[in-house]
Each structure stands twice: as structure tokens, then as C-alpha cells.
Symmetry: C2
Subunit: 352 residues, 2 copies
């Protein structure tokens, strides 16, 4: 958190901060502390600064960024600090899963559905409908670990082979260990200002869907991603083809493929093919998750959306080191809340 | 919640809502459900509408209203629905106290401090410094119950006598049962629009303070209230004397007195005297808590700030029935988050 903050504010003390927006899903149950928005301003030494916490399940980080953007755009505040984080390692894994499962609709949770089980259902349906193979799916983890290996901020800075993914422990058939983001801790920070310099927020799209998965139109496409994407593209005056680099919410491998289609990068059913052809890799025409994604960079739920935004800012500034996408001028972040039902898409552009 | 929503939106279905901001402190632990922002849009039948949850402890309702205001002021959204609620009755009282106590700093909570114990500490200090009597303090409950008796939305629609307050069960010396807001359920709704009609938000002030009470400058004055008030007055171009009616956060009786001073209505140490003289009663020059306040209207924590705003809107519209303050044109709401460390002041004005 300290490093994230220092990087966001240019290394100095947090002077001149008009307001703070904190993204975090569930500090009360993961850490035992409530009142997080105030704890943050207190610990930062910025007594008196207004602060509030935003919870949008795993889209808390991007929703806090959205709230901060709206606050600056309103003219009420000029300098807004957005912080996002989650500390999940302080409780046993079974307890973490219990807490995370609260985002699933009660009608499905009570029948035993977990996030992983729902993702497995989606993966199985997609494989059936579009002929995606188990090997095709494994390539998400292989690609994202290869990217994460070059990211000093990633949780897993190591490559994995296709064989290793395919041989990893079964979690929920067909998903194996390397198809699932881990439970971890992490934080991110961004500083939003009304000054017209540096990277600019050009598009913000946010959309919800039915909470129960059983009510959705489709298992292999996310309505909330499609609508959030359309809204963000409309605000930015951009099309999918204009995006140079994207961070996509790959809490489970299948989600990267599905969302890459729902965001308009590839036609339905062709996300796996694009991945297999290397189009979403570092040298491809539509690089996805150069940071390593949720899979390798990590998925501290409340922090994830803001970590995506940090990665895209670094990409647009040309500061992404060994994982730099060449000539990145327009970047997109896609963050999922709930199981695909409260999604946020943010488009950022480097100023010419 | 249904009635709150129907009233806020003029009774019709929630058409044309661009975004939803939900104020709630801790749905996960009080109800067992997370992902509340999405549950709300789903249950309202407004699939696709962006939504996010705001948690600022007991100031969640007013912070959600603030976020909604900023969203409309930004120009990004024209019609924003703000909902706030808390359901606290589903868990045993001891569990509710455990959950509520998470807003206290760990250094004090671990020593056994509860919100009531901290309020008792404050009350004792104020009585010592300013010679406030136990009878003076009891008048807060007597006044607010008298007001609540006229409010069909109040939890306790009954008057209480001074004797009854003074004889009620001791909770934390010197605070007795009628000095403390109850644990309850409730909800409120507001509809914010960019149309320049009806009641207008003219002032918004929000300020934080140290979380540990031991670090504060004073026990008998809240820095966060003072600064939030100053900011709201500055934005509205108003002074305390301009306020016709106020809703003040009286989770404990002593807090109404202290905050009435910190908001500039009375000099330090004179809030009790003003109350005894009837100045804060319905016929007084500075009516406070015509709704019955947290004491009698109720304090479903996340809903409270928005319930205050609803009351002031009704007062400004002349729709407050038997509890109407005559000629109310400028109203103020004051909502506390944490134990006095994340406070929001909202000024509303009826259009001439």
C-alpha cells in the first residue's frame, strides 16, 4: 500500500488531497476492522480529508476509481486519491471462500454453488458450444504467467508450461488449479486530478445484470460486460479496434476468453482461437493482461480493478519495463463484480 | 424500502434511472449477503443500471447521497437513485454490538470500549466541564420522543416523560436506556436529478478525524463535525443563523447537544441550556430533529443519513404534517460515521 501510494502521488507526502475513495470488498470479515475509509485517512496523516469506502465485490477498485472520477468531474474536488486493497490471507481458506461466496445469489449459494463451481459450469458450456479444448483453456494461464514473470509487482513471477497447467490439481471440473486466481493480499493507488496533463480517463462504462446465474440470457457471454463496454466505448468515442492493450478480469481462465469476445475484440466463440494464434500475447495485435492478469499478478479482490488501471497507466506512459506493449496509446480495463453481474470498463488514453 | 422508493420516485416504477448509489454499513455480517449494490438493481428490476455500495459506517446514507450528488454534478448522469438501509434485527443483540464495535479503533476496542462506553465518557466529561445535569441530558430524549410521536415513519411513536428517562435502565453511566438509539431496521430513498426544480442541494461538507478517541483534541467537541459544517456552509454561502431546521446525529443524547454547538447553532457549553429553554423544540428558533432523531425515528445505521435528508426534504416541501416547522426554507442534516470521525453535513434549500 505504501509503495502504491508513493508511486501514485509522485513519491511525496499526500499533500493537497481533497478527498479519498477507498475500494475494498469486505475489510470487516477479512481483517476484523470496519470504518476503513476513516482508518485510511487517519493512517495516511490526512486528518479532515473526506473519505468513503466503495464495495462492489471484486469490482470495488474500479468502482472507487469511477466515484473518484465523478468527484473530480463534478468540479467539487480537484485532487482525489483512490486507494484499493484487500487483505484475504488473515483468515483460513475455507473462511475466505465462505466470505467470497456471499456475492453469489442466496438461491444458488444455498445449493452449494461456489464461484469456482459457477465458473466451471460456464467453462463446460463454452467448451460444448464452441469446441474449445482443455488445451485451449490452459493457454490463458500459460500466457498470463509468462507475462507475470516479467512483472515485479506480480504475485507469481514464474512461467508455467501447458503440461503443468493440464496436470495441476482439479478444482472444479474442468477447471484446474492454474485456471483459478489465488486468494491473496494486495493494494493499488491512483491520483486523479483536474489538471489536463498525463494519462486521461476517456471512457467509463458500468453495468449490472441479474445476480442469479440461472436467470442469465447466456452462460457463455456476460451482459454486464457487453453493456459496460458499449457505454465506455460511446463515452470515449472509441471502438474495440482502437484499443492497443487491455487488462481483462481473468479470475478464472474461461472469463478472459469470454470477456475478450464481449468487449468486441473477437467474435463470439473465437476468443480461444485468437489466444491460440498468439493474438492476445505480448507480440499480438490485441495484447491482453500484460501484467499477468488476476491469474499471475494476483486477485486481492477489492484491489484488482485499480491494479488494472495502474498497469494501463504504466503501459500508456511507456513505464511497463519488460512487459511494455509497443506504442500503447489507448488502453482498456475490465473488472467484474459479483459473478459477472456488476462490471466496470475504463478506457484510458495517453495524451498526444 | 418499497415505500421509501415509491415516495422518492413519485410513485412510479423506477424508469430512467442512470445509476444507483446504495448506502449500507455491513450487509454481509448483518444479513449474510454481499454484493448488495447488484442485489438492489436486480430486485428493483433495473438490470444494467450501474450501482455501487458506499460504506461510511453510520454515515453511509449521507455519503451515498454525496456520491450520488457528485455523479449528477459531474454531468455523467442525469437521474440518480440513492438508497440506504440496514437490517440489524436478524442477528442477536450481542452479535450486533460486536459488528458495530468494528468501527472503533482496535486499540480501544481491544480494551473493551463499546460505542456506548465511549459516549458515556464524552457525556461525563461534558457534564464535568459545563455543569450539564442529568436532567438536562434527559431532555434530548423527551424532546425527540415528543417529535417522534408525531412522525408516522418513526420507530418509537410515543412520548416519554423526564421521569421515565431518568428511571430507565442504566446502560453505561451516566447514559440510560433512553439516552441511546436502538438497534433496528430501516431504509430511505432519494432521487437526484439534474433538473432545476424542487429542493436543491446547496451545501455538502465531509470531514474525517483520528479514529482513536484518545487522540482527539477534545472530548466535548467533534473536529469532524466542525470542519464538515464549515465546508457545507462555505459551499452553500450560508451561516448557522440561516438554518431553519436541522436533523442532528443523536445516536446518544449527549451527541445532539455537542453537535448543535459544533455546527455553530450555540456557543460551546450552551447546547444544553438552549435545549432546556425550548430553543431546539418545535416552537423554538432552531428546531432540531423534528423527525424524532435517531433516538425516536430510529437508527438503522446505514440508512440514517438518508432518512435525515428525507425529513429535511419533507420539511422544505411543507409535507411534514404534525411535525412541520413553519416557514422552513433552509435545512441542514448532520450524520456521524465511526465514533465521530467521518462526518457529513448536507444543506438543502427549497427553491423560492
Amino acid at each position: 500500500m505504501h509503495e502504491a501510494l508513493m508511486s501514485a502521488t509522485g513519491g511525496g507526502p499526500p499533500e493537497g488531497i481533497d478527498a479519498v475513495f477507498v475500494g475494498c470488498m469486505n475489510p470487516d470479515e477479512f481483517t476484523g476492522d470496519g470504518n476503513l475509509a476513516t482508518l485510511v485517512t487517519d493512517h495516511l496523516g490526512i486528518r479532515s480529508a473526506p473519505s468513503m469506502r466503495i464495495d462492489n465485490a471484486p469490482a470495488s477498485g474500479s468502482a472507487a476509481f469511477e466515484a473518484g472520477y465523478l468527484a473530480v468531474a463534478s468540479g467539487r474536488y480537484d485532487n482525489v486519491l483512490v486507494l484499493a486493497g484487500e487483505k484475504m490471507s488473515g483468515v483460513p481458506t475455507a473462511e475466505a471462500i465462505r466470505v467470497l461466496s456471499k456475492m453469489i445469489d442466496r438461491t444458488e449459494r444455498d445449493l452449494g454453488a461456489t464461484l469456482t463451481a459457477l465458473a466451471a459450469l460456464v467453462a463446460r458450456r463454452y467448451m460444448h458450444d464452441y469446441g474449445l479444448s482443455r488445451e485451449d483453456l490452459a493457454r490463458v494461464a500459460v500466457k498470463n504467467h509468462a507475462n507475470g514473470a516479467k512483472n515485479p509487482f506480480a504475485q507469481f513471477q514464474k512461467e508455467v508450461s501447458l503440461e503443468k497447467v493440464l496436470e495441476s490439481r482439479m478444482i472444479s471440473d474442468p477447471l484446474r488449479l492454474y485456471d483459478c486466481a489465488s486468494i491473496c493480499d494486495g493494494a493499488a493507488a491512483a491520483f486523479l486530478t483536474s489538471e489536463q496533463t498525463g494519462v486521461q480517463v476517456t471512457g467509463l462504462g458500468h453495468a449490472t445484470d441479474y445476480v442469479p446465474v440461472q436467470l442469465r440470457d447466456s452462460l457463455t457471454s456476460l451482459h454486464a460486460t457487453k453493456v459496460a463496454g458499449e457505454r465506455a466505448y460511446a463515452m470515449a468515442g472509441r471502438k474495440p479496434v482502437d484499443i492497443d492493450v487491455a487488462e481483462i478480469h481473468d479470475a478464472f481462465s474461461i472469463l478472459e476468453i469470454i470477456n475478450s469476445e464481449d468487449l468486441g475484440f473477437f467474435p463470439p466463440g473465437e476468443g480461444g482461437k485468437a489466444l491460440a494464434e498468439g493474438r492476445t500475447g505480448m507480440g499480438g495485435d490485441m495484447p491482453i493482461n500484460p501484467s499477468g492478469g488476476l491469474k499471475a499478478r494476483g486477485h486481492p479482490v477489492g484491489a484488482t480493478g485499480l491494479a488494472q488501471i495502474c498497469e494501463i497507466v504504466w503501459q500508456l506512459r511507456g513505464e511497463a519495463g519488460d512487459r511494455q506493449v509497443a506504442d500503447a496509446k489507448v488502453g482498456l480495463c475490465h473488472n467484474i463484480g459479483g459473478f459477472g453481474n456488476n462490471n466496470v470498463v475504463t478506457i484510458l488514453e495517453g495524451r498526444a
